[in-house]
């Protein structure tokens, strides 16, 4: 029913060549890139707002010190090179010279220190936590930055991407009220494109940064990000040639096969390796009978995830095997079996303490696919004899209900950020289970053994030691089924085949279109 992804290999080949290497085909300069953006970003100031759309658009403007390939290995960008001390506590970055912000001001180590230590520590939703590992920062000269960590922090080298650590121009922000700085409306970064115009509700226009520090880049003259709020209309926009790139999630999954089969159309699910969106259902372990592991196992085996993948996700993505996504570091493949097995599920249910209770399913209010998914799960449950009911909500209501732990099972998907210490442990640590947040240990999973292992693994300096620790963690957690893991979501980027290189890093379209070029026919 579903076609294989045709262009994965091509994309991979390009990536292996590296951003600065020469291309097989000779890139052509010029042209306009039309991209869909949905929803309209609230702001383009990536240091303050880090939601998906902002990140995607502002990724052309802001940059960080490195870029990451599909295996999450770091490569130089604003930093030319770096060293890590033996004890894993000192990181020294050597910055590229001759880089300027869009307004012409040179980019220096002072900007890095200001960004990391002042601006992002205060304004960024995650950076505050990461910077707790940093004891101090030094800028011995204009092109050197040194981080002194309190103790080794395994994932540290993984945080220098534009969405996590965007470089903010110090000269515009220092000493101002960051949130209300007028400069937020005309974002200035070091990236390949410059902000030109934003017609709210309609489009955002970027133009080429002529002074970009990488020679010959970027190739295209301008980018339009089109705001089209209706998924069907976005598909039409692609068909009628108004837009050329449909980033993951732009069109409804149901529409993907049709659009994919159009002429001159390529598709890739690459570019999500860093975020590795993993979907699961929180199980409220404080609610009876969900505290019974047999009930949870029965529910787990009841889920026909293959059907969901094929019918709802166009066969994209992978069936999750546990709490760590397969593209994330330290993923263990051989965890206990949680596959679809309704007979086993019925048997488990019969042995369990389940007694006809109605399970409240809180769906994720992110569009049709998720609604359908909740409906499908409800049917899966009913087929093994679990009564269930879908609780309606919108985004705000979902947040509130999950934060207040007012559900039995709740859909969610979260980014892994490349490393279990960044993206996984936060949702399983016993001391991170306080109500009030929808992204911590919402299920209230309490396991002192895994807690201890998580703590230790985060600060291990040795790679293999970490791998072993995370394997143990994964085995224990999968056996307990505190959550019902669904899919490693595959968000396909659809684009015209003559648009070259839209995806070439682990961040995909979020990482700026510096290497994109358009082949003229």
């Amino acid at each position: 029913m579903f076609k294989p992804i045709r262009h994965a290999a091509v994309a991979l080949a390009l990536v292996l060549a590296g951003p600065l290497a020469a291309q097989d085909a000779t890139p052509q300069d010029g042209g306009t890139l039309n991209v869909v953006i949905q929803p309209e970003p609230p702001s383009l100031m990536l240091g303050i707002v880090q939601n998906g759309p902002t990140q995607m658009v502002a990724g052309d403007i802001y940059e960080s010190l490195m870029w990451y390939d599909f295996d999450l290995e770091p490569h130089p960008l604003l930093a030319e090179s770096w060293e890590i001390s033996e004890d894993g506590k000192t990181y020294t970055f050597h910055l590229r010279e001759g880089v300027t912000f869009h307004d012409g001001t040179p980019f220096t180590s002072a900007d890095v220190k200001f960004s990391m230590d002042v601006f992002l520590r205060k304004m960024h939703s995650r950076m505050g936590q990461y910077m707790q590992h940093v004891e101090s920062m030094e800028t011995p000269d204009d092109h050197t930055v040194v981080f002194h960590l309190k103790q080794p922090f395994g994932p540290f080298l993984g945080i220098f991407e534009a969405g996590t650590a965007p470089m903010i121009p110090k000269h515009l922000y220092e000493g101002t009220d960051f949130a209300n700085n007028p400069a937020n409306n005309t974002p200035i970064g070091t990236g390949p494109f410059k902000f030109d115009e934003w017609v709210k509700g309609s489009y955002i226009h970027f133009v080429k940064n002529e002074d970009y520090y990488l020679d010959g880049l970027p190739h295209v003259d301008e980018i339009y990000y089109h705001v089209i709020p209706d998924a069907a209309s976005r598909a039409v926009a692609y068909e009628t040639g108004k837009v050329d790139v449909l980033p993951g999630g732009s069109i409804e999954n149901f529409d993907v096969p049709r659009v994919r089969d159009m002429e001159n159309t390529c598709i890739t699910d690459k570019g999500w390796e860093y975020f590795a969106p993993l979907s699961w259902m929180w199980v409220n372990l404080d609610h009876k009978p969900l505290d019974d592991v047999k009930v949870r196992k029965a529910m787990m085996h009841a889920l026909d995830r293959q059907f969901a993948r094929d019918a709802l996700w166009n066969g994209l993505g992978k069936i999750a095997t546990g709490p760590v996504a397969s593209t994330t570091k330290f993923h263990a493949a051989d965890t206990p079996d949680i596959s679809y097995d309704p007979e086993k599920a019925k048997q488990l249910l019969a042995e369990s303490s389940y007694d006809g209770e109605t399970i409240q399913i809180l769906g994720l209010p992110y569009g049709e696919t998720w609604q359908r998914w909740a409906e499908a799960v409800k049917q899966n449950f009913e087929e093994i004899g679990i009564n269930s009911e879908i609780v309606p909500s919108d985004v705000a209501g979902w947040n509130q209900k999950v934060s207040d732990r007012d559900f039995d099972v709740a859909f969610t998907y979260l980014y892994q950020y490349g490393d279990p210490a960044l993206g996984v442990s936060r949702t399983y640590m016993g001391d991170n289970a306080d109500p009030g947040s929808p992204w911590n240990n919402v299920a209230n999973y309490q396991n002192p053994e895994t807690d201890k292992l998580f703590d230790e693994a985060a600060v291990m300096a040795d790679h293999e030691e970490r791998r072993a620790a995370y394997k143990e963690i994964q085995d224990m957690i999968v056996a307990d089924v505190p959550n019902l893991w669904l899919l490693e979501l595959g968000f396909p980027t659809i684009y015209r085949c003559n648009v070259k290189n839209p995806v070439n890093t682990a961040f995909g379209v979020n990482d700026g279109f510096r290497k994109v070029w358009i082949e003229k026919k």
């Binding site: 409804e252 149901f254 909740a374 879908i390 309606p392 909500s393």
Partner: protein, 279 residues
Amino acid sequence: MKDFWKRFRYNRGAVIGLVILALVILTAILAPVVFPQSPWKMVQRPFLPPFTQDGLPLGTDALGRDVLSGLAHGAYVSLLVGLVSTIVALAIGVPVGAMAGYFAGRTDDALMRFTEFFQTIPSFALAIVLLAIFQPSLTFVIIAIAIVSWPPVARLVRGEVLSLRTREFVEAATLSGLGNTQIILRHILPNALPPIIVLASLMVAQAILLESSLSFLGLGDPNIMSWGYMIGAARTVIRTAWWLSFLPGMAILLTVLALNLIGEGLNDALNPRLTRKSE
């Protein structure tokens, strides 16, 4: 009553409407018998076109669910929402309008300001906000629809009561020593009934439309298969499976059309001179 039927039957459209509505009601009643399985059950592969497989005459939707079964069960929901929300709206609007019209003066002023207030907020937007607050379960969908649709009732009833209040038979009732409540209930409201009935039939139609619009936007009860939901869910696949949007739309169209035809018939039969007043 005999006259009523005679005049009603004279209106061909109204009879057609009545037949359609009867079919819809029948469908709603028989749905659980003919389609005992849940309409949510995934019975076949997704996107089966209509008339391609026995037993699934209208094909399947995005999850392989029986479209015909969905339409049948949806009839029940549409009628239920239309009817109950109209009753609730009448339960708010009739007393408000009756009191405003009968007591006049300050009471009238206060009640009408209140009504006006509700009319100043765009009703569809208000319904959306209400559902955002309550979160859309069937009960709250009905309540939200009722809340946005009572003001016209109040205005109509007020107008009727205002004109009936000065009629001589009401004055005679006052002189006969009847209390206000008795006068309103026994003398005024029965005479205001024809236009209220006509309005109510149109309100049922409007409520069905409103419910489907809300469901279309994803503000319906997710556990209930309704026509609006079906269109909303099929909207994204309109290009590959246009019939999934088309069929429930036709169902809504026919039902609402039937109710409007009946409303017109009632109008002709009950109150030939109402046309001007009805909004």
